[in-house]
């Protein structure tokens, strides 16, 4: 590195600010370490995230605005296409592109809520299970075993049938997904860490259990949790789109990627673009998250059991 570059990077002249700036250097490190495919996935994920966030700004139409005059228009480039509707229109004359953008936004939002809630539940239970012994531990691990035994789709069907389909129920259902994975990870790590000398030292020095959990245990389990979060995020995206596809998730007219595929299926022979556009967005999203999640896992080198 030349002197000029060092000066430009500002590394030899640290400025002190009265408040901490968000650290961006980890993003730079990530970018340098990534290989070609991973870089593509990073860009893709970023583009999808930005378009999802900016959906209200960049969507050409209201996603629910119907125009019966221009129903089932194909995407630009085909016969009968209208230039305004880049990806065509659906059976009610709604703009497919706008619905995809809003659908992507909702999918992101739901998956994020779901993953955070799952993390919170699993983390708290894992902490309890790891720090407490005996009955509490047995009870929590029994719940974990029961949850692992039942395919989650069945739990989701039950809950959606009981509480009805709505955004709030959907967040609850997605939030319950995957908590048992976090619980197992946290419990295992806590049990391991409990034996470590530095924890004993902290306890001997008079640190409260709360302080030990926060200052000594938490920093040591962040990286497996981040990895699990990514994996569970992509599974939640799949779960949400599957439930919406089946007509059990977010209800019409609200667009999600899954429900667009599900409802558009009826028009598959005559208007395949209604299905293909959201299906392509789903694939791009799951590919990107899959590649990034796998890379993170390798990077953190957590020996997550592969089954």
């Amino acid at each position: 590195m030349t002197d000029h570059a060092i000066a430009a990077s500002g590394r030899n002249q640290p400025r002190r600010l009265p408040f901490p700036l968000p650290r961006l250097d980890f993003a730079v490190t990530f970018w340098r370490e990534a290989n070609g495919v991973q870089r593509v996935a990073m860009i893709l994920a970023l583009v999808l995230l930005v378009t999802a966030l900016a959906a209200p700004l960049i969507a050409p139409f209201d996603p629910n605005a119907q125009s019966l005059m221009s129903r089932l228009r194909p995407p630009v480039g085909f016969e009968r296409a209208k230039l305004a509707y880049l990806l065509g229109t659906d059976e009610l004359g709604r703009d497919v592109l706008s619905r995809c953008l809003y659908g992507l936004r909702l999918t992101f939002l739901l998956a994020l809520c779901g993953a955070v809630i799952g993390l919170a539940i699993g983390f708290v239970l894992g902490m309890f299970s790891g720090l407490a012994d005996g009955a509490i531990d047995d009870f929590i691990m029994g719940l974990v075993d029961a949850q692992i035994a039942i395919p989650f789709t069945l739990v989701a069907l039950l809950l959606l049938a009981v509480f009805g389909s709505g955004l709030d129920v959907m967040i609850l259902v997605l939030g319950l997904y995957g908590w048992e994975q976090y619980t197992r990870i946290v419990r295992g790590e806590v049990r391991k860490l409990k034996q470590m000398p530095f924890i004993e030292a902290a306890r001997a020095a008079g640190a409260s259990p709360w302080r030990i959990a926060r200052r000594h245990i938490l920093p040591n389990i962040v990286s497996p949790l981040v990895v699990q979060f990514t994996l569970s995020f992509s599974n939640i995206v799949l779960l949400e789109s599957t439930l919406s596809f089946l007509g059990l998730g977010v209800q019409p007219p609200t667009a999600t990627l899954g429900s667009m595929v599900g409802i558009g299926r009826d028009y598959l022979p005559t208007a395949p673009w209604i299905v293909l556009a959201p299906a392509a967005v789903i694939l791009l999203l799951t590919f990107a998250v899959q590649i990034l999640g796998d890379w993170l896992r390798d990077r953190a080198d957590v020996r997550l059991r592969s089954r």
Binding site: L158, V162, V275, T286
Partner: protein, 308 residues
């Protein structure tokens, strides 16, 4: 060995009891299910009559005890919609689902084990990485997207395959492939990793040194040992993924199985059927896993011969 089997069985019974309990209370959380099923135009007397008829009167705890007692008796309740025992409704759908899952499992094994071995043997060449890349990306393809694309290409564009029902062998092709997609992706990766672990073992070198043919070394000594690891994975993956997947695939292809029944019951709120259907699937998954657990222990001399 016996103790191990016994412990697995006891754990299984406890899990089943927990599931029965959870499922029962889940369906009672929202109050009297009768109110959802029947509209507003019902008289109070009729409502009470029906509530008693379906065993929904009394406190939640009485209902729960009555439910457990009836369960032991083999009385699982009546379907709200079909007015007949849920056991009958579910039973007639077992076979189509079993057919679909068996056919998907067979297809998965046929495709993914050779592919996994190939990827392990050729791991340094482009063949190996191509297989692994496809398998890796395959994990990210939701099965409803795969099914929809299959329908578009093979049913609508090419007009080769039927979409609805399970009448002829041709009806099996698309649902089987759609259900196998994720399984193949997962199992190919596992097979490759299990084979890689095995290939570097000393007994492989010994087998080669004995002068055995390479094919026999790989298939008998390699795959034979790798299959111990694979067995447990197949249990968890196939049972779990197939149960979840068949819900989607059966709905898409109008396959008259349990998955389709569950979705219908969830949408129309036929709680007794939903309850019993979920239990049936959960029990099937748990039993399959317990059987595989025991088979796994039996296949592994380290567990079979261990004390306790």
């Amino acid at each position: 060995m016996l103790a191990y089997a016994l412990r697995t069985l006891i754990k299984m019974v406890i899990t089943l009891f927990a599931i029965v309990t959870l499922v029962f209370f889940a369906t009672r959380l929202s109050g009297n299910p009768i109110d959802f099923v029947l509209g507003d135009g019902i008289t109070r007397e009729d409502r009470e009559l029906l509530t008693t008829y379906y065993g929904l009167d009394g406190s939640v705890w009485t209902q729960y005890l009555r439910y457990l007692a009836a369960f032991v008796d083999g009385q699982f309740g009546l379907s709200f919609l079909e007015r007949r025992p849920v056991a009958d409704v579910v039973a007639e759908r077992l076979w189509p689902t079993a057919q679909l899952i068996l056919s998907a499992t067979a297809f998965t094994l046929l495709v993914s084990i050779p592919l996994g071995i190939l990827a392990a043997l050729k791991r340094k060449s482009w063949v190996g990485s191509a297989v692994m890349t496809v398998a890796f990306l395959g994990l990210a393809v939701p099965n409803f997207v795969l099914a929809t694309l299959l329908v578009l290409v093979f049913a609508y564009l090419l007009n080769w395959l039927p979409i609805v029902g399970n009448g002829t062998p041709a009806h099996f092709i698309m649902p089987t492939i759609a259900l196998s997609g994720l399984l193949i992706a997962a199992l190919t990766r596992f097979t490759r990793n299990a084979m890689l672990d095995v290939l570097s073992q000393d007994y492989m070198r010994t087998a080669r040194a004995k002068g055995l043919k390479e094919r026999r070394v790989i298939l008998k000594h390699g795959l034979g040992n790798a299959s111990i690891t694979l067995l447990s994975v197949i249990g968890l993956q196939v049972a779990g993924l197939a149960a979840a997947g068949s819900v989607v695939i059966e709905s898409i292809f109008a396959w008259p199985g349990i998955g389709q029944l569950l979705v219908r019951s969830a949408i129309l709120r036929d709680y007794p059927v939903l309850q019993f259907g979920v239990l049936t699937v959960a029990i099937a998954v748990i039993v399959i896993n317990a059987v595989i657990d025991i088979a796994y222990a039996y296949a592994d001399p380290r567990i079979r011969l261990a004390k306790g």
